[in-house]
């Protein structure tokens, strides 16, 4: 047990801090109000290029595909994330953390050269076409289908929960190409431009009033048969690679801790009958209960990070992060609302609004995250089966494969 970083990492951190100090002003968010959309986009691309040059973005992506080409080092990645957050500077990216690893692992050389460099540069952006209205938890039951006509797949069907579909250049998408195969074996993993004729995107308004997601409708959308990752019928197994990466990050305890500290500020600021809310025992006790849970999750993440930095699979400590983290965020928002009482019911645009309405927004958004990316029920199945080794539910008589 040693909470200090070794000299190598301290030096890495110091270099990064120096870099941030010198270059912070180039971060595109600084341009937010004074530049046009196109200038802003250019600033973002320049920033990403600068970060890749210094190894602070696309760090482990091979140089030949536009990355920095370093060996994976979870501690350095953690330091990068931590310092960017601490300095409130917009971090770089590695293209798309679901698609890029998948293409690197399973794409052809031609696909890698076509897709990865522009994606890493931020010039080709992606959305994910997996979920469908009738296949949520049971993803493999998807029915969006494609038949081959000449050199093209012709796609028909509907996707849902597609975040960013209205802005993305490209989609990676699961479609059923072998209708007669068993359900896990009839799916292919296709990639195509969102400008393809026959694709319609409709924003999906959520309870927060915002459109985080979209529905995407396909009507005879034609995609060249070469635009497939892996073989026909292997899409389910290709996608599982992507899913592995996607779920990371939901329930991040550092974010949770900073929300708790915001809540403390709120409770020190707001008063009831002249008394600070934080001094009112019932609220004070609820706050302390949450702090205990937040600390446990924070240290748990240090444990996960250590396992990763040693190349070990963290196991249970990792499997629980999404379930516990999203729940904790929801409860923090809940206490904030209760601490505000009537004022906690106000929302965007109201007089007397506190903290810009963000607690209500989070309260609802966090509930969405408890449901999304694997409902709490599915998470518990996963923990029970993968981490604790409990048996799956038996197949029942009427179930088709």
């Amino acid at each position: 047990m040693d909470l200090a970083y070794s000299a190598e990492y301290e030096q890495f951190r110091n270099e990064l801090r120096r870099f941030l100090k010198e270059n912070k002003h180039r971060s595109p968010d600084m341009f937010a109000t004074s530049f046009t959309g196109e200038e802003r986009a250019k600033a973002a691309r320049d920033w990403q290029r600068l970060l890749i040059e210094h190894g602070y973005a696309a760090r482990t992506i091979p140089r030949e595909y536009g990355g920095y080409g370093a060996e994976p080092d979870p501690l350095k990645s953690h330091i990068i994330a931590e310092e960017f957050a601490r300095h409130r500077v917009r971090p770089g990216h590695s293209g798309d953390n679901r698609l890029v690893p998948t293409v690197l692992e399973l794409g052809t050389e031609e696909q890698k050269q076509w897709l990865i460099p522009p994606t890493v540069r931020g010039e080709m952006t992606w959305c994910q076409g997996y979920s469908e209205p009738e296949s949520g938890s049971d993803l493999a039951s998807l029915t969006t289908h494609a038949h081959v006509d000449g050199d093209d797949f012709v796609i028909n069907g509907q996707k849902i929960w597609t975040s960013g579909a209205n802005r993305a250049d490209m989609m990676f998408c699961l479609v059923r190409t072998e209708p007669d195969a068993p359900k896990h074996e009839g799916i292919s993993y296709l990639i195509f431009s969102m400008d393809t004729p026959g694709i319609e995107v409709r924003p999906l308004i959520t309870m927060t009033g915002e459109a985080f997601f979209n529905e995407v409708f396909f009507t005879d959308a034609r995609v060249p048969t070469t635009q497939i990752i892996g073989k026909r019928g292997e899409g389910w197994f290709v996608a599982n690679n992507t899913l592995k990466y996607e779920r990371e990050g939901l329930g991040d305890p550092n974010q949770t801790e900073s929300r708790l500290l915001e809540l403390v500020t709120l409770m020190q600021r707001e008063t009831i009958g002249g008394e600070r809310v934080i001094d009112i025992p019932v609220y004070r006790d609820r706050l302390q209960k949450l702090q205990g849970r937040v600390l446990a999750m924070k240290y748990n993440s240090m444990r996960v990070l250590t396992s990763r930095s040693k190349g070990e699979e963290p196991g249970l400590p990792r499997w629980i992060v999404k379930l516990q983290g999203c729940e904790l965020n929801h409860q923090i928002a809940n206490l904030a609302i209760d601490a505000l009482g009537e004022l906690g019911t106000l929302y965007y645009g109201s007089p007397l609004l506190r903290d810009g309405g963000r607690w209500q927004q989070r309260y609802m958004m966090d509930l969405g995250l408890i449901i999304g990316g694997g409902t709490a029920q599915i998470q518990k199945n996963i923990i029970g089966e993968r981490a604790l080794g409990l048996p799956k539910e038996p197949k029942y008589a009427s179930e088709s494969s």
Partner: protein, 358 residues
């Protein structure tokens, strides 16, 4: 001993439900919610035909002369349909307060207008029911100064009843106040801040000594609790229906224990709440010495249970519950607002403890 609704009460509630099912659809609520919240004139006219505005106004003043259990059944039905209609303030708390503390003249002036829908009272009691509001007022020679926040059923009000000091209730004309709408997560109930500047006001004389304000707040809490009961029952019903229909892994999801048990837990928590509301509402006239305590518990307990149901119901609906497509969130948000109005759960529980001298 007959702890049950009378046939008339069942008919009353079913009639309101049936009316709302036809006229207060999710589509009409959506339309309402897009603009600033205002009484839906069509629905209001229909409810007037059903006699709801005068439900607790005595027959001699042109009302239906019913009791507060009847009113709670209506509130429950309005909650079920998330009806964007003022009811609690103008049609229950105001006539209760006027009958409890108004002079004969005041009763003769206002109760008939309430029953005919010609007077609509907003309720500015928040400063006395929830210590979170900064608003305070002072009265001097028939004029009132200051402000109230979280005034309920404010938008279409023609009059306001407002708390001042520890226990007094004043009546003011809506034309004489400055009104600023507050925008809450819920858009089916109008809530506002009002400012008085030398505004003429009239005391309800009985309120100076008889505890009418406290009991009026209790009546308001029972109606909010009944509203949340209805809203939560709707969410449970929708969950059960969805769980019977929606298929995943070739099975309706209601056959999975996890989903089945969420539904069972919602039902197990919610069902006893119905009896709690019945008792609390019945007590207003029949066992008034118990009303304040039971109203606190009804309000606090329904706040917790309805919140639980709102969350679990959303989970049962999966991603669909999070979108606007099914509109489930309108119920979720009404429950969220009700939770905080007229006192948050912990404040209200503390009042229950004090009222029992514990």
């Amino acid at each position: 001993m007959d702890f049950a609704l009378s046939e008339e009460q069942t008919i009353l509630q079913d009639t309101v439900r049936e009316y709302l099912r036809q006229h207060c659809t999710l589509e009409s609520v959506r339309l309402n919610v897009q603009d600033s919240i205002t009484l839906d004139a069509d629905i209001a006219r229909g409810l007037l035909d059903l006699g709801l505005p005068g439900i607790v106004v005595p027959e001699e003043f042109g009302g239906a002369g019913l009791g507060y259990l009847d009113a709670a059944l209506v509130a429950e039905a309005l909650g079920e349909a998330i009806a964007p209609i003022p009811f609690l303030g103008p049609n229950v708390v105001a006539p209760y307060a006027l009958q409890s503390a108004g002079s004969d003249q005041q009763q003769a002036d206002w109760l008939p207008k309430i029953a005919s829908g010609n007077a609509v009272f907003g309720i500015a009691f928040s400063a006395s029911s929830s210590s979170r509001s900064d608003g305070s007022t002072s009265v001097d020679s028939g004029q009132i100064n200051g402000e109230h926040t979280f005034v309920i059923d404010a938008n279409d009000a023609t009059q306001f009843l407002m708390a001042s000091g520890d226990s007094e209730i004043y009546l003011v004309d809506a034309n004489d106040v400055e009104l600023t709408l507050l925008r809450t997560i819920d858009r089916t109930r109008s809530v506002a801040q009002i400012t008085m500047n030398g505004t003429p006001c009239e005391l309800l004389p009985g309120s100076s000594s008889n505890g009418a304000l406290r009991r009026s707040i209790a009546v308001g809490r029972i109606m909010l609790a009944a509203d949340s009961l209805g809203a939560a029952q709707s969410m449970l019903d929708k969950s059960v229906a969805y769980a019977k229909e929606r298929k995943q892994f070739n099975r309706v999801i209601g056959s999975f224990q996890a989903v089945k048990h969420m539904c069972a837990e919602m039902a197990a928590e919610l069902e006893p709440c119905k009896s709690l509301i019945w008792y609390a509402a019945h007590s207003v006239l029949a066992i008034p010495e118990e009303t304040v305590v039971v109203a606190c518990h009804a309000k606090a307990h329904l706040s917790e249970v309805a919140q639980f149901v709102a969350r679990k119901s959303t989970e049962v609906h999966g991603g669909m519950g999070f979108t606007d497509l099914l509109g489930l969130h309108y119920w979720f948000k009404r429950i969220g607002l009700n939770r905080q109005l007229l006192g948050s759960p912990d404040e209200v529980r503390e009042e229950a403890a004090q009222a029992q001298d514990w």
